[in-house]
Structure formats: structure tokens, C-alpha cells
Symmetry: C2
Subunit: 450 residues, 2 copies
């Protein structure tokens, strides 16, 4: 059965879809500030019900509810959608050209906090299902919606939710939260995430900051931390923590081939970033491999002593560094934390305390997974070109809970573009991308059934 | 001629002296905030005139005036007093038990911002001269007063002032701004200061902070700075900058002997500082040598990226460190700055920019200088015990302008005590220390004439 009638339905209803998205975006739902969360969840649940999807809020003890939706199809074969209804805080407000929760349309785009990350995608998927039902009366496959409310604060309760709902969440494949047209307008799909191990290191010296004349005889915690960190990674970008690379799986020939095909203009990127060169002077395929397939050891922050204007002669009492490691299969964040602690002790820095924050596994959906084929074909149909395939994003997220723990291959596609400004002022999506994004979901549902 | 009559005069006038000091302290004179400076200078000038000292304000282009006073004595032999009338800002106000400019007396002490650093000393010296004049009708030697208004902001205009007034400032010896009874009540005298070279180092990465997923390929300025700094000093406290120690003069046998005699309770000091041990586990004479006679390379501050609560995954665009070097004779701060720049280039860190702040030479008045002998004898007379002699302070200051550039041996004595809380809330001096401090100045003038 052709998708023509469904695509016509989407075109015919598109103005309403846009209005619905605006309404959803006008409900601030900021998890970090506990603002409007229940209202947004209920709004989404009602919208699912209106589409004919069985929907309910599943309470999350100590957190915000998951909006869970399910629509049985002709087959039990199941496609799972992961999204989130919480958004980043909109600050700094003065940098927005229209209020972040006004969802103003101008120049063919909707501007709103969360419109790209992730309300546009959540709404597009519901609308695609509705278009299917209104056109054909039923879905060819079963779909499930998991829309959490805590993604922007690190999904603290999602691991337990997934663990407690293994049966409910069963699916043969899934569509992850978002995707973006690249700077040349090509649709992209991402098949994985890196893991992350985020640590805060702290060194302490005297009871309080002292006059720097005391630096002769009183240990300086900033020096301790600098010396310790200088044993973590050298200027050749080699991470020196014992055993750090032990579990790294080398890229497959297929992954390398996909990377080779990735469009990338090193010079444009370099200039946009405002840097003289990439690390180690890398370019081309080597640069792609380094970016997507290699782990990192990064200083997110370092604070000690006086950092204001001018001069203050002080011996700091405390020094703190935040370090994140982005991990690749099969590195384990808990194992990396253990190795960092062991490394510090071994090198005489046992006085430096370590506090662990985020702890997420890496995960990748194999390039030969059937859902990848469905996405390729659907993109050809909707966008008139094959998608650009990223074996993984360079970032992290809760995807491993599904890919690794539940064994569901997940691919991330969506309605954004390279200028969507997620997490930044003037977040936006373009209306035509939104229209195509809805059609893309319909095509994937259809393709998944075949 | 005995000092009995002068000491009696001081005792007889002491209540008035205290009232005068309170009045002076009640005039806030905060150079950093350009608050009350002219009034305080004029107040001091008038007080000098009242004592019979010829006094005037010498304008300082772009700065606050110097109060200059001169009183010819029986001999042309000249003793110069260096003081300052500016004070530190009083914040944080909430930690003061009485308002910082109320100059409240309680428990036998005056509490006020600046009473110890440095108004008590400036006033004591004027009052001592007045007591001399009222008792004997004339001074046995000529005295000169140089009271600047910019000490607490780093004496930016004093080098030029000294250079332009070499003739005016000629003297055979001088008394530096302040001194303190130690924690066992012994008077102390300091004969020198360390130099200082204060540098701000900055590394830059991308145009703006990026998502930490970009740490794979975009240089991280925090890492650059950590790697660079780790080449400055190692864990054995060895400063590794090429040529750093070239001009260091080894301590003399006499200096070591004086250090050996310095009272010091390592354990008490260690506990008060709240540290497990001093650097390199030093104690005793070695600890004194390290503290007073060795140069430092200290991190005063390090700032980069996110340093707030919790987790933020960021690749910083900028990293900054403030580093101060305390220098010993004959290290030259401009030379050290040059060596740091050369070191950075040599080690491949030419991208790190260096901005120089304070730049002061070290200086020491020789232990066998006649003024030291005068102070020893005067202390015996006033305090009934010899002073504790510090060949140098661990800190820095403009003393080298006099000692090094003008060739005037300077010794620092004064009316404070170990709990005077300079630069801190509840700054204070004890009334009995003030009385003795005035007598001490009188005794030094008298001794200097012989």
C-alpha cells in the first residue's frame, strides 16, 4: 500500500499539527526548576488519547511521571519511540528574539524552548500515528511511546523505570529522540552514544585561604591537582590511566567505511569553532575516527583560589576539577571510575577525593540492524536522498538502557536542523522539516511492517 | 640623657594619644575605593604640624598624595619613617564585632580597620617626635616622614615618587611601616622583604564553551594550562624554569644563626593551619630556611569552565591561572618574567599568553647594620628583652625602593601583635602595645643619635 494517502493526510492536517505543537511548546516544563511538569505530561497524554493511542502517566517515585502510550497494530511486532517532555531552562532570556514560551513563527520556523529538543519530535510521532489511523484505520505494527520527564537533568530515575518495566517496553526496534538535517540539508541518523563517567576531584590544603607568602611551607591544593591531572593525559592525547583502553573495541571495517562516507568540511568546522587546528593536527578520516570512535578525558572545569580581575596574593585552601570521560564500547563507566581511583593512589595522590556524577554506558546499534535499512529506505522516499549515517554520536544519553539492557536496536532521527540551537537561545525548527519529519515517522512505521 | 622624662611625658599624654588615634581611624581612607583619601592625608599633615613637624602634601600625578614631614634635629644625621595612611576595605562587615570605623575600645584594645595596618604606627611616630620636642625642645637627629596613600593597592606610583625625590628622601637609616609582638609577646623586627613577580597565564581554545563531546578534537585550554604549569614545579618543590635559581644568593652563616634562634613551634603552627604536614615534611631549621630564605612558585588561582555545583559537560573556551613567584636576593622580577616566557616557548606553550602584574624586588638590610644595633638596645630598654630578628619577611612590599634604590637600611617595627588581624575583620592593637610602641620610637631616635 502506498504512503501517498497518508502523506496527503499529513499535508491536509499540517496547519493543525503546527498549532498543536505551538500549544505544547507554550507549556513550560522545566524539570530542573520543577516547573509545569505535571501539566505538560497530562497535555501529552491527552494528545495521545485524542489520536487513539492508549496512554497513561506512570508515576516515578521521587521524579516526574513517564507518559506511556501504546497502540496495538495488525502485528505484534513493536516499534518503540523514546522522547522526553522536559526542556532545558530558557536562560539567558535577553538573548531570545521572541519569548521562549511564545512559540512564535517567523521566517518559516517555530521558535521555542524545547521545540527541537524534544517536543517537536514527541508531537510529530503522535501525529504520524494519528495520520496512519485516520487514513488506514489501523497500524501495521504495534507502537509504544516512552516519554520521560527527566532527560535534561540526566534521567536519574530512568534506569530503575526501565528495569521495572522490561516486559512493558519489549520491542523489536526503536526510534530515539531526535535527529537533524546537517549544514548541507541532508537528513542524519545516529545509531549510538558514547558512555560517560563524570568525576569531581578535590584537593584540600590549609583550613582557609592564606597569604601567598605561606606558599613556601604550606601545601597548595591547586598544585596537587595540577600534578595529579598531568598524570591523566599527555600532550599526545594519550590517556595514561592504567587499563583505561583495556575494553575498547576497535572500529569495524563497516564502521570505518561509514565514517569515510560522512560528509565533513574540516576547514569550515575549524573556522566556525575559531581554532587554529584540531587536536594533534588531525584531519579527514582520522579526525572523524577520533571524534566518533575514541574515548576522551576532558577537563570540564577547574576552580581554585582567586580568579577575579587583577591580582590577589593567595594560597588557596581548596582546588576542584570536574573531569568527564566519554567512553566507547565496551568501556564501563563504573570500571573507569575504579581505575581513576586506583591511578590516583598509585601515583601518590590518595589525598585527592573523588565524587562521581553521571555514569552511563556507551551503546551502538549495529549498522546491519534491520531498522537501519528501514530508515535508509524511508529517507529516500521522504527526503529524496539517503540519510547520513553516524555509527554513534559523540555525546551520551540513556540510549544504552534500551540498546544494551533491553536489547532493542535504536536509531535516532528527527525534525531538527544544524541551526536548531538546542539548549541555546532561539531554539527552533523549520516548518518544512517538521512536515517531512512527520512523514518520515509514517514511512518508518510502514517500512518496519514489511 | 636618659629617656625617663620622655617616657613620663608619653605616659602623661597617653590618653590623648589614644583619642587622637581613634579620631584618625574614624576617617575611612580606602585607596581601592577612592574613599576619604584627601581628608585623611590632610588630617595627618595637620597632626604633624601640630607636633612641630614641617609637613606638606606632595601631589602624586594620577594617584593619592604623599604626606611628607621633616623635622631638623641637632645633627644632620637623618632617620626616615615610612608609613601609609590608606587602609584595606573593611568587608565583610558582618564579621566585625563593632563597626570598622568606630574605633571602639574594649578589653584594652582599639578595634578599627587600619589601626594596626598602618595608622597606629604612623600616629605613634608623630607622637614620639612630639614627646621628644615637648620634653627636650629639639630632636637629636633629623627625622623625615614619608606616608603614602597607595600601599594597599600595590604602591603603583611610589617607584616614580622615590625616583623623583632622591635628594629629599636622603637618610642614613629608616624605620619601616609595622611590627608585631609574636604569640609569646616578644617584640619582633623584620629586616627585609621578598620580591614578587605576579603573572596571569591564559590559554584559549574554541571561540566559546562547547559541549564536552567535542573534547575529542577541539583543544582544551584547561589541559594546555595544566600541562604547562606541570613543567613549572615538580612535587619535590623544585622550580623547573630554566635559570630560575641563577641569581639566588645563599644564606649567610649569620642569617642561618639568626634563623636558628627564631622561636617557632612547628606543631602549634601546623595545627592552626589545619594541615597534616608542611611541604616535603619539613620541620625545625629547614622549615624556617624554606619559609624565609627560599623563593616560591605558587598558584594563586586557577579558573576554567564550569565550577558550580553538580555536573555540566563543557569543553571550556578559556583557562586562566594566576601565579606568583616570591623572590629572594638577588632575583630580579623582570628577569623572572622573561624566564617564564622563554620557558613556555621552549616547552611548546607559546600559545599561552602572559600578563604581568606586581613586580617588586627583594631586599634585605644587613644584620650588622647600625640601625639593627639601635633597635636591639631600644627593645631591651622598652620591652625588657631583645627583639626577635627576622632577616626578612616572607611577604613583599615597596621596601626595596628605599633599601635597594636609595641605599637606606630599613628595619620594620611597630605596635601590632600576633592577633592584630591585618586585612581581616576586627583588626586591632592593644593599648599597652601602643604605649610601648611610642616609647620604642623615642628610644630609637635617641639611640640613633649616639
Amino acid at each position: 500500500m502506498s504512503l501517498e494517502r497518508i502523506f496527503s493526510e499529513i499535508d491536509g492536517q499540517f496547519d493543525r499539527y503546527v498549532t498543536e505543537l505551538q500549544e505544547f511548546c507554550r507549556k513550560p516544563s522545566i524539570a530542573a526548576q520543577n516547573l509545569g511538569m505535571e501539566e505538560a505530561a497530562e497535555h501529552l497524554r491527552a494528545r495521545m488519547e485524542a489520536a487513539g493511542i492508549q496512554a497513561r502517566l506512570i508515576p516515578v517515585p521521587g521524579g516526574f511521571p513517564v507518559v506511556y502510550g501504546e497502540m496495538k497494530g495488525k502485528s505484534d511486532r513493536t516499534l518503540l519511540f523514546y522522547n522526553h517532555y522536559d526542556v532545558q531552562p530558557p536562560e539567558p532570556l535577553e538573548l531570545w528574539d521572541s519569548p521562549p514560551f511564545a512559540a512564535e513563527i517567523r521566517g518559516g520556523a517555530i521558535y521555542a524552548r524545547g521545540v527541537s529538543d524534544n517536543k517537536g519530535n514527541a508531537m510529530a510521532r503522535i501525529q504520524a500515528v494519528e495520520a496512519f489511523l485516520r487514513t488506514r484505520g489501523e497500524l501495521p505494527v504495534t507502537v509504544k511511546f516512552v516519554v520521560e520527564g527527566e532527560e535534561e537533568i540526566g534521567s536519574p530515575h530512568l534506569p530503575r523505570f526501565v528495569e521495572e518495566n522490561r516486559e512493558l517496553l519489549k520491542a523489536e526496534a526503536g526510534i530515539w529522540e531526535a535527529g537533524y538535517k546537517d549544514y548541507q540539508g541532508r537528513p542524519t541518523v545516529s545509531l549510538g552514544v558514547k558512555g560517560i563517567c563524570y568525576l569531581e576531584l578535590e584537593a584540600r590544603g590549609a583550613r582557609q585561604d592564606l597569604h601567598s607568602a605561606m606558599a613556601t611551607i604550606v601545601p597548595n591544593p591547586a598544585w596537587r591537582l595540577i600534578w595529579a591531572l598531568s598524570t591523566f593525559k599527555n600532550e599526545r592525547e594519550e590517556i595514561l590511566i592504567d587499563g583505561f583502553y583495556d575494553d575498547v573495541v576497535e572500529p569495524t571495517a563497516e564502521e570505518l567505511a561509514v565514517l569515510r562516507d560522512l560528509p565533513q568540511d574540516d576547514e569550515v568546522m575549524r573556522r566556525e569553532l575559531g581554532i587554529d587546528s584540531f587536536v594533534l593536527g588531525l584531519s579527514g578520516l582520522e579526525l572523524k575516527i577520533k571524534h566518533l570512535l575514541k574515548p576522551t578525558c576532558n577537563i570540564c572545569g577547574f576552580g581554585s583560589g582567586y580568579t577575579g580581575e587583577g591580582q590577589k596574593t593567595v594560597l588557596p585552601a581548596r582546588a576542584m576539577a570536574k573531569v568527564d570521560f566519554r567512553l566507547v564500547p565496551n568501556q564501563d563507566p563504573a570500571d573507569i571510575e575504579k581505575k581513576v581511583r586506583a591511578h590516583l593512589h598509585k601515583h601518590g595522590f590518595g589525598d585527592i577525593t573523588v565524587r562521581a556524577y553521571s555514569n552511563e554506558h556507551p551503546a551502538r546499534t549495529p549498522l546491519n540492524s534491520p531498522i537501519v535499512k528501514v530508515i535508509k529506505e524511508s529517507a529516500q522516499l521522504v527526503y529524496g536522498q539517503p540519510p547520513v549515517i553516524y555509527p554513534t554520536m559523540a555525546g551520551s544519553g540513556p540510549m544504552p538502557l534500551f540498546v544494551r539492557d533491553l536489547g532493542i536496536p535504536m536509531a535516532s532521527i528527527g525534525v531538527g536542523h544544524s541551526g536548531s540551537a538546542n539548549h541555546a537561545p532561539n531554539e527552533n525548527i523549520r516548518l518544512e522539516d517538521y512536515r517531512q519529519g512527520i512523514k518520515m515517522i509514517a514511512a518508518v512505521i510502514d517500512g518496519f511492517a514489511r
